[in-house]
Amino acid sequence: MLRYIGNRLLLLIPVLLGISLVVLVLIDITPGDPARMLLGAQATQQQVDDLREELGLNDPLPVRYVRFIWNVLHGDLGTSLMTKRPIVDEMLQRFPYTLMLVSLSIVLSVLLGIPIGIYASTHQNTWKDNTAMFLALFCVSMPSFWFALLMIRLFGVQLRWLPISGVATWKGWILPCIAMALGLTALIARQMRSDLLEVIRQDYITTARAKGLSEGKVIYRHGLKNAMIPVIMVIGGVFGSSLGGSLIAEVIYSIPGLGQYIMSGLNNRDYPVIQGGILILSTMFAIVILLVDVLFALVDPRIRSQYARKSKGRGKRVGDET
């Protein structure tokens, strides 16, 4: 298992190399000149050319790529063109906000989505199930920024219960987390419901009932764990999309996180910020996917046995485990 995790971590390296290359190429082919943006329309062509030379923008792509990787390996993502501050410092400062926003919304959506899914599937085709699934469909289909604006209007402007922007107090987190969590909750609930319905039809659930277990134990001990495997996958995916979602939520609610930073980088064609930001986000995502795979193996012995070394497994005696 440890070896498997090690292997997966090693595999991260080529993935991140690839991502950096793609980002570099994309920035290269998008129109607009960072040097011109920086100096403004009044600057002469000479000034622009000088700045381009200074920033190394005139070097061929492979040279820039190697330089970028080399710097990253030394913990240097460059400096922002706009603020002139080192990007690593800025990101370290902002990272906790994004992590907080994303993890709070994921925790919230898991805590809500899984029980809702279980409830809906154990009341299949009743009005309770139908209502829950209608709401879930609604929340999945509506964009989260729409919820965000709606809630700002209702709770911030009209009722004045919660601050409309900033996270100076804990109250500030409530609206952005809910805005982000609504869609994710709905996704998780729908997945949970359909997986559990599928699992409940399996023979081993009938076996569990035939043992005399109560319905609750049948569902929780035998159904849920089996149904969790695809749900874990969805939660992993949800994490990725919520990293993207945090870009928007942070702008709407003025949260000084990574997303806001990357958005301003995009607006200003502050390409070192964009490069660094995307690299960080993709690293986070890759690590989450790795965690998901490890969780899979923890839940499902069939997956685990693929990683276990051949000699192990047999010969375990009772009492060694659980």
Partner: protein, 324 residues
């Protein structure tokens, strides 16, 4: 009457699909004495598994509808029991070996745990004690107990079936519903499993309903036979009577489609045609279409059970005439 362990009266079960009603079990009566082993035979789709699941009340809730009937177990109608009381019977006094061992075990729990779970549930004992007994059960079905902590995917089909059997026998049930317990096994293992069940039967006095397609197994293992056809029991009697003196044309057909070494017939004679569509059963005798001896009256109204000799009943108007 008192020595009847289980008595099914007028059981009717339907399955509801989106646009059809499947009449799976139609007015079945069946009694099993203490210690008796009864073979329940019949084609695929005859309703055998449905009968067994009705006894335990584990039919799929959404599709299945137990329309009417009574199922007395030790004198109590189980269909009127509260779910709580029913749970004390399941896995404890009545247990079931499921048809397909490949899917009957939870793939992500240790096999030992799955056996111990039943034992712990029905006996007020500590977990360690339940696990110890589960090990004994494994040994009894011929699986070394150091495989307690393995998962179903590490077991062969035959071993899974043994685990399922160990699970069913773990609480010394007084009635065992064995749904084709040997179909998934090769012939040698089949014999071993049957031997094992036989010795348990002798040791514990367990009654067994053995669902099978294999008439050879029935003649070896059972005291009596019930032949199911299209959701009805068409013939019922002791093994001896039914094998030597079958009366219902369907039973005769079943024996006719069985290879025999002493037969002079050059070919097997399968029963012609198919079982009627369970969504659209004929109003008369269910076997009318395929019956070689059908009379006009057979198509008009369904035949009643007729006792042609003590303990031997058939559902066929020919019974009155004293055999065909």
């Amino acid at each position: 009457m008192e020595d009847n362990l289980l008595e099914i009266r007028d059981l009717v079960v339907e399955y509801h699909t989106d646009d059809d009603v499947i009449y799976a079990v139609n007015n079945i009566n069946l009694t099993i004495k203490k210690g008796e082993t009864i073979g329940l035979v019949g084609e695929t789709g005859a309703g055998k598994t449905t009968i067994a699941k009705s006894i335990l009340r584990i039919l799929p809730q959404l599709q299945a509808d137990l329309k009417s009937g009574e199922i007395f177990f030790e004198g109590v109608d189980m269909l009127t029991l509260a779910e709580r009381d029913m749970r004390k019977i399941r896995g404890n006094k009545i247990s079931m070996i499921f048809q397909d061992p490949m899917t009957a075990l939870n793939p992500i729990e240790k096999v030992g745990f799955q056996i111990a779970e039943t034992i712990k549930l029905h006996n007020k004992i500590r977990r360690e004690e339940a696990e110890r007994r589960a090990c004994d059960m494994l040994e009894m079905v011929g699986i070394p107990m150091d495989r307690f902590s393995e998962y179903p995917h590490q077991f062969s089909g035959g071993m899974k079936q043994r685990v399922v059997i160990a699970m069913a026998l773990a609480c010394n049930p007084s009635l065992l519903l064995a749904d084709e317990p040997t179909t998934a096994l090769d012939v040698t293992i089949q014999a071993q499993v049957l031997d094992m069940m036989r010795s348990l039967k002798e040791k514990l006095g367990t009654s067994v309903i053995l669902i099978t397609h294999d008439l050879g197994v029935v003649s070896d293992f059972c005291d009596s036979v019930a032949v199911a056809y299209a959701g009805e029991i068409v013939e019922r009697g002791s093994v001896d009577r039914i094998f030597n003196n079958p009366h219902h044309p369907y039973t005769l057909g079943l024996f006719g489609s069985l290879p025999r070494l002493d037969s002079t017939e050059p070919r097997l004679k399968p029963i012609k045609g198919l079982m009627p569509d369970p969504t659209n059963l004929p109003s008369g005798c269910r076997f009318y279409e395929r019956c070689p001896d059908a009379a006009e009256a057979c198509a008009l109204s369904p035949p009643q059970d007729i006792e042609i000799e003590p303990g031997h009943t058939i559902k066929c108007i020919r019974g009155k005439e004293g055999g065909i």
